[in-house]
Symmetry: C2
Subunit: 150 residues, 2 copies
């Protein structure tokens, strides 16, 4: 996360960047604005998800299983292939979702190491419940509410 409330002015960035060769102050300013806008948005989303018993990662885990065509379950490593988090974090996230009754975890008949993760009805329902607000927050974030990315 990027926590600087007031980004440095273009002039200040230029002052710093001129000391280093090959650095374009405009790009630096853009990168700072990008990180700031995303950090604020991510925080908004986390807060929204928390109000619905989820987190960004728990939500994405549900989405990744739900959106898979022709499949009703994914193995843990298939979920890991789609999400850029460490395995231990995924293990814990799935345990949390399982305790909350949003996914089931069953043994894979062909591979005793592997586990198949499926959404429960409660899992699908939670996803449906959360999606409208999720899209609304994303839409609003890109609708010129002062993130300086427009």
């Amino acid at each position: 996360m990027f926590f600087l409330k007031d980004l440095p002015s273009r002039r200040m960035v230029t002052g710093y960047a001129d000391r280093f060769e090959g650095v374009d102050p405009a790009k630096v300013s853009d990168a700072l604005a990008l990180m700031r806008a995303a950090s604020v948005l991510i925080r908004d989303l986390e807060s929204y998800f928390a109000a619905h018993g989820l987190s960004q990662l728990r939500f994405l885990t549900l989405i990744v299983i739900d959106r898979e065509p022709e499949r009703t379950s994914l193995s843990v490593h298939e979920i890991a292939d789609r999400l850029d988090v460490s395995r231990p974090v995924l293990t814990r996230t799935l345990q949390t979702l399982h305790k909350a009754g949003l996914v089931t975890m069953n043994a894979n008949e062909d591979d005793a190491r592997s586990k198949e993760v499926s959404l429960t009805k409660a899992g699908s329902d939670r996803l449906e419940q959360v999606l409208p607000g999720y899209f609304a927050i994303l839409d609003r974030a890109m609708s010129g509410d002062g993130n300086d990315l427009n």
Copy 2:
């Protein structure tokens, strides 16, 4: 942080978003790309800072003290005014910086509740050491290396 490796196609976003009124699929796609690009960049930066005994927040803390004109110290609450983190996190961050010898913390003569934080020589030196690479990473991130924001 936003962990989805492969963002949904515009078509898939449209499929979801069409079910909700007033949601512009293009904006949703932009928001997802924004979060993904920033998450990758922030991770790069954290890794860079870690290699120099810092973190993004410790770095920003040093920067806000350093860039203050006409001042050689800031109180903890002035730092908090500039950084969007909770007070306890700032307390711990300053303790870490203090243990590492990068800042000093002195009593304020006029207000016994307050503490004045200053950079040490080691703190300024660390900042100087880290800045070129920092700008280089930001510049490169905005130079069309596949973040789909161009």
